[in-house]
């Protein structure tokens, strides 16, 4: 029994190291002098914040890296898509959860199937449509693409709304409350966990996406972080690794912190999705 426990602890530590190591290594690389991927020592011999400074000041002579602009762009795109996407998703889920209208079951099946279809499969079509709307190379196009499809991910929220007892609304209706009033004063305050979950996932989705961003945004000043960083490593590859690592740390920190902080909601959301069956 003792031996088994000891073995378990060894395994746990090993898995822990495997989970934590890449993150630690990236942080250390970003603080290392020089610019190469290769290094003889795990701990940097010379600590430096130069790479971070370089990202913020954009004072390189050979190449402009408008990291701060990218950061602001990304914030703008993700925040707007989060607000729009969450709103759309909540409305859809509420409609499907609470009302029985004609064609509802068929629409549910359609939503399920379309939701399984990754948007980038019809990439070229989206591109042509945005081109006809004259929206290419704008951040609004990106926001539109991210939030327009948000309704398709509504199953988790619908599952949540399904669990709110109907007697609450019926009581309110007898008191003469309108549909809109019931939604805003009864349902929404009760749905804080699910609203947190949806906003977080839509925000993170927009924050890290680069498939659409790479296709839509053409000029470097319009890029989001994902595209910018991708280009940084794609064109310079391992020769600018430390700079890339610093960029990664700055992108990952807010999202990782947010995820860790709101873990509880995320896990609730995931489990809600699981018990759907």
């Amino acid at each position: 029994m003792k031996l088994k426990l000891l073995l378990s602890y060894v395994l746990l530590v090993l898995i822990g190291v495997a989970c934590f190591y890449p993150a630690l290594w990236t942080v250390l690389s970003s603080l290392r002098e020089g610019n190469s991927l290769f290094s003889d020592h795990f701990w940097p011999q010379q600590w430096t914040l130069d790479h971070y400074r370089e990202l913020f000041l954009n004072n390189r002579t050979d190449r402009s890296i408008p990291y701060v602009t990218w950061y602001l762009n990304t914030l703008k795109v993700s925040t707007t898509s989060m607000v729009l996407g969450t709103l759309i998703q909540l409305l859809t889920a509420y409609a499907f959860s609470r009302f029985r209208f004609k064609g509802r079951k068929n629409m549910l099946t359609v939503v399920l199937i379309l939701g399984m279809f990754p948007g980038f499969l019809s990439l070229i079509a989206t591109f042509v449509i945005l081109n006809t709307l004259n929206l290419l190379d704008t951040q609004w196009a990106l926001i539109l693409v991210y939030s327009a499809g948000a309704a398709l991910g509504m199953f988790v929220a619908k599952g949540f709304f399904d669990t709110i007892p109907r007697s609450l609304e019926e009581a309110a209706r007898i008191d003469g409350a309108s549909h809109m009033k019931i939604f805003t004063t009864i349902i929404l305050p009760l749905s804080r966990p699910i609203i947190t979950y949806i906003s977080l996932t839509t925000f993170a989705g927009a924050w890290v996406d680069f498939i659409f961003a790479r296709m839509i945004l053409r000029t470097p000043e319009n890029w989001t972080l994902a595209v910018g960083l991708w280009n940084l490593i794609d064109s310079y590859n391992s020769t600018e690794f430390t700079l890339f690592a610093a960029g990664c740390v700055l992108i990952a920190i807010p999202i990782t912190a947010l995820f860790m902080y709101t873990q509880r909601f995320l896990i609730e959301g995931l489990t809600a999705g699981a018990s759907k069956g």
Binding site: P22, F117, S122, A125, I211, T256, K276
Partner: protein, 430 residues
């Protein structure tokens, strides 16, 4: 006897909004009349040229024309724009017809209420869900359904480089020729079959390694006698919390054959490093292991939630009967976990078929091979499609592949969904 319903219905069929006005709903009537006017204008002036464009895809490409005394290059028809305009026009036309029908039904139902002497305003609750859904539906129609329709149409054209790229050339309808090419022409069919086989193998392996790995890790933490359970869980969830895009690019560098730290450690122990991303076999191993690194935390979290719901007396009873640890796992734990996570298992399987990020960001589909046309050894159908679209401009083949993926996924999800309890017994919960 009153005949309000029939009269209102006929009036509305004659011209949108008349029936409503007859029912004394003037504001609604005016709105419908305006929609009607706009609809008639669009149908008479725009619809037919656009539909004709959709059918012909243009008849004159970029060509030389004599302007005055010199020949000039004149832009011709742009087939792809004609196509999208045609689809849009058809969509708007369908919408118009739909509103027309809604208008007639509305007039009839209000008329009927008048016949029965009821209040005509109490129809709100059937309209409200549609009000909620209006915005989402518009979004989905324009940015999900229309692209899918358009992509499906592309599969039946010859829109591909080098000979059929507008505006220089025209694109034509070719029927099923693209699919025929994909299945019978050796260059394409070898790639298709090869990539498809690896996609299926990958989806099965990736799903099962993550699934069972996650359950095992959860069991490991949940053992009696393990301290700091919360801490371990927190630690193991890190890979899930870091944005995938960042962690994958970092791992790609860590696995670098020459300079990456992993091979460096191998060498420090006197072993030779491995060509993690450059050898066909090891590249496949790498993507699966890295996918485990990313995917295990999710299953772990789910499994830990389910483990706490298993009644403890089952285990106690098993102990009394002298069951071994393995028997308890096999007969109590696994059935419980499997039962509650089957839907997740299937969603993860479908998700892995479309797992673009892991493959594209880690290996980019490489290592390259001569056997395949525009694809590498670790390419999945989706990454191959992405390359065909963005790098090689083979739009028709890409569209055909997209349709096949879509059919496959649709089949799976309908199968899954129709079987879930939440669909069949939805209304019994409350």
């Amino acid at each position: 006897m009153k005949r309000n319903a029939a009269a209102a219905g006929w009036l509305s069929a004659l011209c949108m909004g008349l029936g409503q006005s007859y029912n004394r709903q003037y504001a609604k009537g005016l709105l419908f009349v305006l929609i009607h006017a706009a609809g008639i204008y669009l149908v008479t002036s725009k619809l037919f040229p656009y539909l004709k464009g959709l059918a012909t895809l243009g008849d004159k490409g970029q060509h030389l024309e004599k302007v005055g005394k010199i020949f000039k290059n004149v832009p011709g028809d742009h087939s792809v724009f004609m196509m999208i305009h045609g689809v849009l026009a058809a969509l708007v036309f369908l919408l118009y017809i739909f509103i027309y029908i809604v208008n007639i039904r509305d007039a009839v139902s209000v008329g009927r209420r008048r016949e029965q002497g009821k209040d005509t305003r109490r129809l709100n609750s059937s309209v409200f869900p549609w009000m909620l859904l209006a915005l989402p539906i518009v979004g989905v129609v324009f940015f999900t359904i229309m692209p899918i329709v358009f992509t499906s149409l592309l599969a039946f054209t010859n829109y591909a480089s080098p000979n059929h790229i507008p505006p220089r050339n025209l694109v034509d309808w070719v029927g099923f020729a693209t699919f025929k090419k994909l299945f019978t022409l050796n260059v394409w069919s070898d790639t298709f079959v090869g990539v498809l086989t690896w996609t299926v193998i990958w989806a099965i392996l990736a799903t099962f390694t993550c699934y069972f790995g996650g359950i095992l890790v959860a069991l490991l933490i949940n053992q009696k006698g393990i301290k700091f359970k919360g801490f371990w869980r927190m630690l193991f969830i890190i890979p899930y919390a870091i944005p995938q895009f960042v962690s994958l690019l970092i791992l790609r560098n860590m696995l670098n054959e020459k300079f990456g730290p992993i091979n460096q450690y191998f060498q420090a122990f006197g072993m030779q490093g491995l060509p993690w991303l450059n050898d066909p076999f090891w590249a496949k191993v790498s993507v699966i292991v890295v996918n485990m690194w990313i995917g295990i935390p999710v299953t772990m979290v789910l499994a830990m939630g389910i483990l706490t719901t298993i009644p403890q007396d089952l285990y106690e009873a098993a102990d009394v009967d002298g069951a071994s640890g393995w028997m308890k796992f096999r007969n109590i734990t696994m059935p419980f976990v499997l039962f509650s996570t089957t839907p997740i298992l299937i969603t993860q399987f479908v998700g892995n078929i479309n797992n673009f990020n892991v493959i594209f960001l880690l290996t980019g589909g490489n290592p390259a091979t001569m056997k395949y046309n525009n694809a590498g050894q670790t390419d999945l159908l989706v990454t191959w499609l992405y390359k065909l679209t963005l790098d090689f401009n083979q739009y028709n083949i890409a569209a055909a592949v997209a349709i096949l993926i879509f059919l496959f996924i649709a089949f799976f999800s309908i199968l899954l969904y129709r079987r879930t309890r939440s669909f069949r017994e939805e209304d019994m919960i409350q």
